[in-house]
């Protein structure tokens, strides 16, 4: 009896006779279309009983060659491609791309546009974290939290709808600002969200944060040290959960983030629970930022209170009213739509704090109508390679929650 127990704990569940062609471990496919992967990617796990011996990840199932397509498109037409990277927080990708173009074109943005963008980006961060954190709940066996918070994501999507007309793949904003000002309904909906969401987030937190079952499942699952995480190229909440306080919003402020006061929550062990806590705290911080931005926007008076784009006729579409009535506006419209405005030669790297890490755009232009080369630094493509190390010797059920806690988005990984 004692011998059996010993044998079990040393991880040798199956004893094979000499010369057997069978394997000691079981091969298990987690994905590509498994409900727990939340996206199309595959993990080939070698399991010994319930213990994971090794994992091999395969990605690329929805590769769409965005970088190649971008080499033939004018800047404008690349925005919808960025939607399809991290589609849980598409506005951050869109605005990050616009900011890259603006950096290349040396466009100075008015403060009000920066603040409007901050509101959108922080709303996107909330929706992204909300999904990721509630999905960890789902994978740990708590479906109700996921269904409950969905209605608050819906409130955010309604705000997007007012601003840009779409919900998931938003194509929000333009190079140089927004295509239209936020309307009264958008502000009303934002008010509604700011009023109702904190209570829901509080409840969401109460359901999981100190829930005995959830804590038992997540504490100690898939930990990674700060040093290891940096070596693996972790960024965003996953890195901060390991205790490294790196945040692009603070380190290299863009879109006037330096005007806001917020904290960067950090964890210590980098396990699933810490990642959950960091994301949860970040949602509160995002709410703080949105409230500050709202406040600042209210303070603009007179002409300034109507500004929603910079003055860049070469790249910013003229109002439709003018396009139909004046020849000059019509020419600009035509040139922009056909991509006939050449962009200056140069190379620029711009990064924003995406919901799951540092989202970078490396744009090389040779002065033509479209980029010579465009590379997306997709955060989850880079840190996903740590997965085999994270789940080695973990239980099979932990492998699933580690996967969901990393906030992997197949669209972003495969570009």
């Amino acid at each position: 009896m004692t011998e059996d127990v010993l044998q079990y704990s040393s991880g040798q569940n199956i004893k094979l006779p000499d010369g057997s062609i069978e394997k000691q471990t079981t091969t298990l496919n987690l994905g590509p279309t498994h409900p727990a992967t939340h996206g199309v990617f595959q993990n080939i796990l070698e399991v010994d009983g319930e213990r994971v011996v090794s994992a091999e990840s395969t990605v690329g199932y929805i590769h769409r060659a965005f970088e190649k397509i971008a080499e033939r498109r004018p800047l404008y037409q690349i925005t919808p491609l960025t939607d399809r990277l991290n589609y849980c927080s598409a506005p951050i990708n869109n605005l990050g791309w616009h900011m890259t173009c603006e950096k290349l074109l040396h466009i100075e943005m008015p403060k009000r546009v920066d603040y409007l963008r901050v509101i959108i980006m922080e709303l996107a961060r909330i929706t992204d974290h909300l999904i990721c954190n509630s999905v960890i709940g789902v994978d740990a066996g708590a479906l109700s939290v996921f269904l409950y918070v969905m209605q608050y994501r819906e409130l955010v999507y309604e705000i997007y709808e007012e601003i840009c007309g779409s919900r998931l793949t938003t194509n929000i904003g333009r190079i140089g600002g927004f295509e239209r000002n936020f309307n009264a309904t958008a502000w009303q909906k934002l008010d509604k969200f700011l009023k109702e969401f904190p209570a829901a987030l509080k409840e969401f937190e109460a359901l999981l944060q100190r829930n005995r079952i959830f804590v038992d499942r997540t504490v100690g699952a898939g930990p990674i040290s700060g040093e290891r995480a940096l070596n693996y190229g972790f960024t965003g909440p996953n890195l901060r959960a390991s205790g490294v306080d790196y945040d692009v919003r603070v380190h290299t402020p863009y879109s006037s983030y330096q005007d806001f006061e917020f904290n960067i929550p950090v964890g210590t062990t980098g396990d699933v629970y810490d990642r959950w806590l960091v994301r949860n705290q970040e949602m509160w911080e995002s709410l703080k930022i949105i409230k500050q931005a709202y406040q600042k926007i209210q303070e603009f008076k007179g002409q300034e209170a109507e500004v929603y784009h910079a003055d860049v006729p070469e790249f910013y579409l003229p109002p439709k009213q003018q396009v139909y009535t004046t020849i000059e506006a019509l020419i600009w419209h035509f040139k922009i739509i056909m991509g006939e405005a050449n962009i200056p030669a140069g190379e620029v790297y711009h990064s924003v704090e995406g919901a799951n890490g540092e989202l970078g755009f490396y744009l090389i232009s040779d002065g033509g109508r479209s980029p010579y080369r465009l590379h997306f630094r997709r955060p989850c493509f880079i840190y996903y390679q740590a997965y085999p190390e994270l789940v080695k010797d973990a239980m099979l059920a932990d492998a699933v929650i580690v996967l969901s806690s990393l906030n992997l988005i197949a669209g972003e990984m495969d570009a």
Binding site: I69, E71, L104, R228, N231, G346, E347, Y349, R369, R377
Partner: protein, 167 residues
């Protein structure tokens, strides 16, 4: 002391002399290049030096310049010193006929997939890489799609006339 571009440049030239060249600062990011044989030495120096500490590999990718004979493929490293918050861009150029470049996977675990991606799309052969195979494309593919000789659209198409738009 503050880690300025001039200081980084000075340290690099002290260590590598004429080998590091092409210093410039497009859009505020220090950029330089080195011969491809030296890529690991330069990366290691930037990593280990107690002042420079460029220990975070932000990004790694390649660019194809078909007209630059002998230097067709550029491998671009974006490095970040997170402590002092300084970024730099380091390039090496390689011949497309013989695209062997030393792998940085010993230094950065994150380089593993980034190099696989670069191999997948440009065919840069990272010497010493533990698992250099295609990552996003199918393994049966026998060309490197992001090279410039592969146009995006089929050139035999006749239903589109782009003559007017300079494409």
């Amino acid at each position: 002391m503050e880690l300025t571009s001039d200081y980084i440049k000075k340290r690099l030239t002290e260590k590598f002399g004429e080998e590091v060249s092409g210093f410039c600062e497009p859009y505020g990011m220090l950029t330089f290049e080195a011969p491809k044989e030296l890529n690991l030495k330069v990366l290691q120096f930037l990593y280990d030096d107690p002042e420079l500490r460029f220990q975070f590999l932000t990004d790694l990718q390649a660019v194809h310049y078909p007209d630059d004979k002998g230097r067709e493929l550029a491998v671009v490293y974006h490095l970040h010193n997170i402590r002092d918050n300084v970024r730099l861009r380091f390039k090496i150029f390689t011949d497309i006929e013989n695209p062997d470049v030393f792998t940085a996977t010993q230094l950065y675990a994150s380089a593993n997939w980034m190099e696989r991606e670069t191999y997948d799309f440009f065919g840069v052969n990272f010497v010493g890489h533990p698992n250099l195979k295609r990552i996003l494309n199918v393994e049966e593919m026998d060309y490197f799609p992001l090279r410039k000789e592969y146009p995006l659209e089929e050139q035999t198409r006749v239903d589109k006339d782009d003559e007017m738009f300079g494409r």
